[in-house]
Amino acid sequence: MTMMKKLFLLALIFTAIGYKSAGQEENRRFLSPEAGIDGIGCEAPEKDYIRAVTDQDPADYYSDQINSLMTVYYAGCRFEYRMFNNLLGLSAGLRFNRMTTSIGRESYMLSDPDYFYVNYYQSGQVTEYAKVREITQDGDYIGIPLEVRLYPRKEHRIRLYYKAGLSFNLKVHSRSDIVFFDSSMEQYRADVMKVVEKASPYYTTFHLGLGVKIGKTTKPAISFETYTPIGVIFPKGAWLVDPIAGSGLQLVLSFPLNSVKE
């Protein structure tokens, strides 16, 4: 069964549980627009096409190294079903994610150069390097987030809650860019970009988090969520960055759709 099918099945189960519990007690449904940002730490890139800049002596390595960064900005909307007297919320939705990844050189010393060497051509006895300041990649993904929220306190204007979730994200578009040290190399951009990996076609994240909701359950409310760690799983293969884990912040608006008492 493919990952997409599994997630679809999981979304159906979430929805079914929500409806099943609807007949038993007071339940509420919410429409929640949301936006957030995730910062993900990545392994230092070890690539066949990038020349090392320092010894692997830890003192050298941490003061001057080639780094990978990954940031995900997203916005979307989800439905949340509350059950068990609003103690538990299950939600599923749709998100647009913009994943920005980059490779650059970071140094504590002003005297260290801010570029690295990309080996972009080898033929016979000729080897060509380009001095590169940064390689960036923007990937646009459509994501399906599935989340569980636990509201341990009873109804209150300010409620603390916990959440756990996962999200499956499918690429719809991506573009890569490169910043050369010498602008005259711009004309060889296509040649250099040939050695850079494409953006991953999909990725999955999972996270644990904490949130605070301001506002009564029966009224529109605003929530702030922070979650850590975030795990990111790319499919097998070679990608621009190799994510480890990260943290995120999310802003959620909640609009109650109904209040049913059966």
């Binding site: 090392a52 002596d57 006895q125 000729v126 001095k131």
Partner: protein, 205 residues
Amino acid sequence: MKRDALIFSLVLLVLTCSCSKEYELDKSIFIPDKDFPGLPAYTEWGYNTFGLFYDREPFVNTDFSAPSKIICTGGKTTFSLKGHMGVSRYYYYVSDEKPMTLSFDLPGFVPGSLTDLLELDNTIIDLTDPLCKVTLTVDTARYSLEVLNGSLQFKRAQNLIVDKKQYEIILSGVFDFQALVNNEPSSFTNGRFDLGISRDNFFKY
């Protein structure tokens, strides 16, 4: 006063930014070998490193001087590796390093210019060839080695172009031999080198 300080800071910034950039490819970058951590891994990036075991003791390049020279004079070409013995790379204050230089004559090879070094690509030199003189200098003592067996292999010679400008020749290879050093049988094993050769370490006169 504030203006002077600002101008001084700007000048310092420009100087510090501009000074080091030319030397980026001349630095030695030591990537430890997974099997023999005392030696640099075999690479072909022009990391300016070399290493070997001299009777099981590592002999590697130093960080602060050119690890190699190619000298062509009198119809003869010498390829030399200059470094030290000992494993005090990161602890200089307890260093018992001995400066060492290992030199090979390359029989029948007389480059007319730097780029002629590309002819060494995929070349194996039999070190027992009487025309291939191998010398070892330890501190100030200089020994002519009587090579018993072994070879020097230039696995790859690359013409390195950086941002479309010719920069250097990268020579990468391996060597392994046994020899008599001051009449004592000695081994020189797991030798490897990855060197950038340019105008500052190629001499022809």
